[in-house]
Symmetry: C2
């Protein structure tokens, strides 16, 4: 077939994909609300300078950026934190601190699509602004853990790898490494698990360090390090510390983190990080040219790696299936057995929907058995048959095949009563909406 | 203050704006589901050719289009129907007809922002594909009406202006106007209510018609015209025909409509159309180079004009307020009166949230009265006070100031019991989340 295709790295969400996406959205939202976070949203398009300010010129290489028709340099957002800093600093006087906000929406990166990577992806962002306590860091780590559990990912199937950039700041001071090498050093640590040891050793040597000293420090850094004491006590009190593993190699590539940093990894499939975040105390000041100083922390979780993980986790499937069963299909299907009754049937359709009931029916004259088949396909609980016996309407329970006649005037109440009963046997999520 | 701004024509959604937006989304979704429609989503970025194919080269003037880094011509979608046609024709064998799908998401137009117009706006799209019956058209008009009513817009406050392009096709045939002038003619009709009569007369004359003849035909076209007979009978049966006014000047600017066309207007404020749509039987064939013939109809409603209308309609405010009251704030606020009990308080926070209860608390040591004030600000039903009397926890009902002590082990059940009671007096949606 001829026809158009999606742009490289972009995705269509057919109804079954969209239901999976909505299940992810609803789960993110449910946990964030339990944590008392409020939802916000930022534009998907921002000035390119917003990202340059935060990350330097190099960032434009991965940006989906372009000039608009008035030669403005604009970019499809690669992340939401710069927009959040822009918004929160602009109106920080209007909100009590700490500001606890979450967001769900598309982000874009111009990079080669692959497993776990697309050019358009959806992120969940949760941030706490205006609070520099370890308690705020703990709240975010706890939320990341609860999000994973809410999706049906068991504690033994994922881990929070956590560190604190301050341990490396102290290490550099202790080893007399000048401040100017700090960024280079963190980039080396960020890649240390993937790079060849001799390359790492060479790079460290260039800034006056040996791989042996660095490795020994990493190996000696564990949960007893005082940098983690408050966070640990907090998460232990919640019973969540067993989900955390201290890992000094976690620094997060982006330059703006200042304290706690963490990433969420699955433990069974070797996927890329499901989520990551940390403390970024200086970003708001940077983005507001120093006019608003607001210590902050947050994390982001994308839908792509998460989606792969959910598809590989049997225990995560039930939530999705239950959701899809509830979302798809209708409650009742109106069958027009006698076209002379179509007007009455339409009036009933309207009355039922006005009562909040999901109703489907055939738009034009259709054979009876085809209508009943459509009722099954729509996973309808009952067929409401409008035939020559009107004003009596036949309600046929499609689960147990029982049927009875009711007067049209009593139809809405009768349907409500039927729907308030549990169905005979669970509705199986089938592929029957497909042809 | 220094700082960045949104790109021209783009919008920030602070929490109060985001809640209003989510209320609109939820209302659209609720009505669409009652009608048995399934949600889908398409990419926000598509090949520019997709829009050229549908609308011709002129469309690029209003498109937010650019070249990506690999010189692909791409555009931020100005509407979703071309993507829908692309998706549905590509996989039409996988879905039973009629396909009834809805979508909610951002669209973009590069036009001057103004009242009711922004460069990024959100659309609700509902379409029925693979059904050419007037019953399908009626279903869409009924849904548009039910969406307006669900928002609290009363039937006397809005009208569906409706026509059918076939009446003009017949008119052109009857007046021996060659087919090649059909598009020009429809553009003249589209502007006839706003253009100067002498300009309209001149343009009509150029294609062999007089303004008098056209005006007489329009004035003589009413609900008794046979082109509306089936639609009318259908909507009369539902009790919705009184919301419809036949208006032959409605043709919808875009060229792809083939039958029924309609727009939704408010009747009190003279706003731009809130929604519009119609039948487009040839679009799927066009977009698939003739390989899939799928007669279709649909409509779109944007969030910008709707938002203005809701803000001007007192009766529409209650739904929004109820929604915001339910969305914002938490169920209970945990107060740490004695820092030695923080660990127990955190354990309770975790247990309450795991039971689905929305909980907030202060992340670090804070004066008691400040914590109680924060509990009020968060619209909490109760404060749970962890003091030196632990394991007794004091539950303070913030509506009636009553308080009682419960054992920590019974806290979750006690809170559930409290939340299952109606609050004493309604919670007023205040501005108190602001500082």
């Amino acid at each position: 077939m001829a026809g158009f295709r999606t742009v490289k790295g972009f995705r269509d969400f057919f109804p079954e994909d969209c239901a999976r996406r909505n299940y992810i959205f609803d789960t993110w939202r449910a946990v964030a609300r339990r944590y008392g976070f409020m939802e916000y949203e930022a534009p998907v398009l921002e000035s390119t300078d917003l990202y340059r300010k935060k990350s330097g010129d190099e960032i434009t290489g991965q940006l989906f950026c372009f000039e608009d028709k008035a030669q403005r340099e604009v970019a499809l957002r690669p992340e939401v934190t710069p927009s959040l800093a822009r918004m929160a600093t602009a109106r920080q006087r209007d909100y009590k601190k700490p500001i606890k906000w979450f967001q769900i929406g598309s982000c874009f990166r111009y990079e080669e699509p692959g497993e776990g990577r697309s050019r358009e992806f959806i992120q969940f962002n949760a941030d706490i602004l205006g609070d520099n306590s370890p308690g705020a860091d703990a709240e975010l780590v706890a939320m990341a853990i609860d999000v994973m559990r809410e999706f049906g990912i068991q504690p033994e199937d994922f881990i929070i790898r956590l560190s604190n950039r301050s341990i490396w700041t102290q290490f550099l001071t202790d080893n007399q490494v000048p401040d100017e090498h700090a960024t280079t050093f963190l980039q080396i640590i960020d890649k240390i698990e993937r790079a060849k040891p001799e390359d790492t050793a060479n790079k460290l040597e260039a800034i006056g360090l040996s791989l042996g000293v660095v490795r020994a420090f990493m190996d000696g850094t564990n949960e007893d390090h005082p940098a983690f004491a408050e966070l640990r006590a907090n998460l232990e009190a919640r019973g969540l510390w067993s989900c955390v593993k201290i890992d000094a190699s976690i620094v997060r590539g982006l330059a703006y983190y200042t304290g706690t940093v963490f990433e969420v990894f699955d433990l069974k499939h070797g996927l890329r990080a499901v989520a990551g975040g940390g403390r970024y105390d200086k970003l708001c000041a940077l983005m507001s040219d120093g006019s608003v100083d607001m210590p902050s922390a947050g994390f982001a979780m994308g839908d792509v790696v998460l989606g792969i993980l959910l598809s590989k986790t049997p225990g995560a499937q039930r939530g999705i299936m239950d959701y899809m069963t509830a979302q798809f299909g209708v409650d009742v299907y109106v069958v027009v057995a006698d076209e002379a009754q179509r007007g009455h049937a339409l009036a009933a359709v309207q009355a039922l929907r006005s009562a909040g009931i999901r109703v489907d029916y055939s738009f034009s004259a259709t054979k009876m058995n085809k209508q009943l088949q459509a009722a099954e396909n729509a996973k309808s609980r009952a067929a409401l048959i409008f035939g020559s016996e009107y004003p009596e309407v036949v309600i046929k329970n499609l689960h147990n095949r029982e049927q009875k006649g009711v007067q049209a005037t009593e139809l809405v109440e009768a349907v409500k009563a039927l729907l308030s009963q549990p169905a005979h046997g669970p509705l199986i999520a089938s592929e029957s909406e497909k042809g």
